[in-house]
Amino acid sequence: MLALMPFIIERMEFVSGAKDVTNFAALGQIPSSETIEKFMEAMSPAIRSRSRTMEAFMRPLAFKVLAGFMQFYGQAKRVRALGKDGSVLEDFDYDPGTLIPAYIHPQDLIPNTNHPTATAQSRGPRPLMDRAMMFLPMFDFYIAPGSLLAASEVTQKLLYLQLARAGMLDMFTLLERLGVPNVGSPADLPATVLGRLQFQNSQNLGPNVSSAGRKASGQSMPQMSAGGKISESG
């Protein structure tokens, strides 16, 4: 009888998926030398399915949130939230103070340019809500499958590390992704990765990999030994 109780509890945890979640969450606790494969294995079908469902749910939510930003976030509110990054060029066009471009309808623009036709200019911008309907579909919400749960973030970090080593990612984006505090942001730092790579090269900034020891493979997280030495090679 006493042995029956642990059996029932074990069945309850197994059937509900609580055991999988607990095991998966444990991997997210600053791992020492877990590989990407181990993470993928630990993500049981049940967790994967639920994670994907949540990710699928995030897409329509993100679309509605974006529409909400365009509708209810004026320039002042955006600048209050993000500082100088809260302004975009559209804030200074013929219909200032909104994220929505003054001229967005294809009939209002000179082909292959972003400039309004003379007819459109003489008529003035279309109603804001109509332009929003044209503008909103230009954006997608991107989320990698199986990436929403925090425990899977280690995989993403390793991926970004690999890209940075290969010279395909700038150090600012890498540090942001790794969650390093007080990175700072130079005044003329571009917003996109390619722009930042150019900026990084122009400033002679970049990773400095030690030539000593075996070449780091990026397959495992850096480890610190008791003596304080950091090893990247696993």
Partner: protein, 415 residues
């Protein structure tokens, strides 16, 4: 709540209001019936009770001599699952294929992350996940809250979000309408809808009738206020005291319904119709106000009716640019066999009952070990001794005469 309070729509005529309320009543019944037809609808309440460790979900009263101890493994598992699935990272990444608007996409991404943190959206998502475990799915609503001046995420009980005329089980958007049911205090509704811009009470004030209170008093309150206002200040004071006394006893409230409808009505009036609030010169006073030319759709982004059982508080276009319904269904285990999906906790519910039975059996056995049963022979045991006999006492001493009968026999179970 969503802000549908600043419409310039005048109070509708009685005939029109009766029609709208009649249709709303049908829609509510239809949605309610659809949800209740889900095979797992009746499991929701027992699941909530089990998660909240409410006593004995089967409602069986345990006799006092038996153990009432319980082992609430069910709640622990629900907590573990919820914490595992809500340990999410802030992943907000908008992309655009149009190079001219890349800066806007980057800024929207940053705004999204800031909003997610500032508005504690992870906590609201956790609420939604909780509903998924209790009810199979959750209704997540995104609204603009005028009081905080920001977008707000809300998790609703899916039983209070009624889908109407669904074409599939995937999401509310596949239906013709969705009804959100919420109980509000009458004071709140009167404060928001019962006054004219100049501060005087509007006709709506007396039509907001409580339906969860002593409804006779509720119906009289509006009339009494009118009488008092024209009779005398003394009567008004007395009436005010009565109102206060009533509110101390209970808070009058009524159920409100926010009905979002895909209304494909066309402007057939032959002239331009202004939808939403407009200034006197015809320019829109809100960014969701618009003009409908003859032959165009009246509600391109949907129609919203906000009403109680007794009156329509708002009837007009949706205030959101995004279109569609502002409520979305989150279901962790979606199956095509029912609208609510499946909760992982429903498979565990019978196991929790088995675990409880097992645990109580163990505890009852422990009790019996501590206080074993005893059989006494009335020929060798006196009634006085029998009455004060307590086998749980340490160092218990008993005296019997073996030549007169069998004496005492103790019965101890084994674990």
């Amino acid at each position: 709540m969503a802000d549908y309070g600043d419409s310039s729509v005048s109070p509708p005529q009685q005939q029109y209001e009766d029609l709208v309320l009649g249709w709303a009543q049908e829609a509510i019944q239809e949605g309610d019936a659809l949800l209740k037809s889900d095979p797992n609808y009746t499991k929701i309440d027992p699941t909530i009770r089990a998660i909240m460790s409410a006593d004995d979900p089967n409602g069986i009263t345990t006799p006092a001599p038996l153990s009432r101890s319980d082992i609430h493994q069910f709640g622990k598992i629900a907590l573990d699952l919820r914490s595992g699935l809500t340990d999410t990272k802030i992943y907000w990444d908008y992309k655009t294929q149009n190079q001219w608007f890349e800066q806007s996409a980057v800024m929207a991404t940053r705004l999204g992350k800031a909003w997610w943190l500032n508005r504690q959206c992870d906590m609201r998502l956790a609420d939604g996940i909780s509903w998924c475990f209790a009810a199979g799915s959750a209704a997540i609503r995104l609204v603009y809250n005028k009081e905080i001046g920001d977008l707000e995420l809300q998790a609703w009980d899916p039983r209070d979000v009624l889908p109407v005329r669904m074409s599939n089980n995937l999401d509310y958007d596949s239906g013709f309408a969705v009804v959100l049911r919420k109980e509000c205090t009458v004071n709140y509704l009167c404060g928001k809808y019962g006054y004219n811009p100049d501060g005087s009470k509007s006709a709506m004030y007396s039509r907001i009738i409580p339906d969860t209170d002593g409804s006779f008093m509720g119906r009289l309150s509006g009339l009494g206020d009118k009488i008092a206002s024209v009779a005398s200040p003394i009567l008004k004071g007395i009436w005010g005291d009565m109102e206060r006394a009533k509110s101390q006893m209970r808070v009058p409230s009524c159920v409100t319904y926010t009905i979002e409808v895909k209304d494909d009505s066309i402007n057939e009036t032959g002239h331009t119709v202004l939808m939403g609030p407009h200034k006197s010169d015809g320019t829109p006073s809100q960014n969701w106000s618009y003009a409908v030319e003859p032959g165009e759709a009246m509600y391109p982004r949907g129609r919203v009716i906000y009403c109680t059982k007794s009156c329509v508080l708002y009837d007009g276009p949706s205030i959101y640019w995004s279109g569609g319904f502002d409520v979305m269904k989150l279901s962790l285990d979606q199956w095509p066999f029912g609208f609510l999906g499946k909760s992982p906790m429903w498979d565990v519910l019978p196991l929790q009952d088995s675990l409880r039975e097992c645990f109580r059996l163990v505890m009852n056995t422990v009790r019996k070990l501590q206080r074993p049963g005893v059989i006494g022979d009335k020929n060798s045991v006196s009634r006085a001794l029998w009455d004060k006999l307590d086998t749980s006492l340490a160092g218990m001493k008993l005296m019997q005469n073996p030549s007169m009968g069998k004496g005492f026999r103790f019965w101890r179970p084994t674990l």
